[in-house]
């Protein structure tokens, strides 16, 4: 089941904050976050595991609410380089490590 991301798009000024959400109707083992710039490959940002542990960027934080099966990505003091499309990939237990990606959230940071 494909996770639902919100919002679909957001426009920010440099220095502003943003939150991107990813929700699943199925119980999850982990959530992976990627950023993709136009014409480029997705780049890894963060892994969040069931149980609250995480690994990722220094300047980007995220949370994983197991009760709601929802993850949120927090982008603080946004920079121009944060622009791109953010995808969450969800992994269920026993899925052999397969990720199901959401449709993405397009983030545009303006000067």
């Amino acid at each position: 089941q494909q996770p639902v991301q919100s919002p679909q798009a957001v426009i920010l000024r440099e220095g502003e904050d943003a939150v991107i959400n990813c929700s699943s109707s199925k119980a999850l083992y982990s959530v992976h976050w990627y950023r993709q710039k136009h014409g480029e490959a997705p780049v890894f940002l963060m892994i969040l595991l069931k149980g609250g542990e995480q690994k990722g960027h220094e300047k980007i934080s995220a949370s994983f609410n197991e009760k709601k099966q929802q993850s949120s990505l927090y982008l603080t003091a946004s920079q121009l380089s944060y622009s791109g499309t953010y995808f969450c990939g969800t992994e269920r237990g026993g899925s052999q490590g397969n990720l199901i990606f959401g449709k993405g959230t397009k983030l545009s940071v303006k000067p």
Binding site: Y34, P42, K55, G97, F101, K103
Partner: protein, 116 residues
């Protein structure tokens, strides 16, 4: 460490023609994935290999798509015959091991396929 390599980067073909894409994963990565990404959508898994065995190909349109990973390293994805709806970016990704924690997927630059 070298990243995931893919070729060609771009391909334009007519419908009903065949096409093949090549992927070389990061050295030592046991797991290899092929994804299809249609414009404006997230990547959709087509097939997953663990070493040279297929783990999941449930979303691969087997009447026209095929993939192999000989010797557990390089992989090729083939489409024969291509349809207009196959126009997409085909991404290859690799991972050290599918079921170990804290290991992310690394994506290649993709092959942009246009079917006319």
């Amino acid at each position: 460490e070298a990243g995931v390599a893919q070729s060609p980067r771009y391909k334009i073909i007519e419908k009903r023609q065949s096409v093949a894409f090549w992927c070389n994963p990061i050295s030592g990565h046991a797991t290899l994935y092929w994804y299809q990404q249609i414009l404006g959508q997230g990547p959709k898994l087509l097939i997953q290999f663990q070493n040279n065995g297929v783990v999941d190909d449930s979303q691969l349109p087997k009447d026209r798509f095929s993939a192999e990973r000989l010797k557990g390293v390089d992989s090729t994805l083939k489409i024969q015959p291509a349809k207009l709806e196959d126009s997409a970016v085909y991404l290859c990704a690799s991972r050290k091991h599918a079921t170990q924690v804290y290991n992310e997927q690394f994506f290649g630059p993709g092959t942009r396929l246009t079917v006319l």
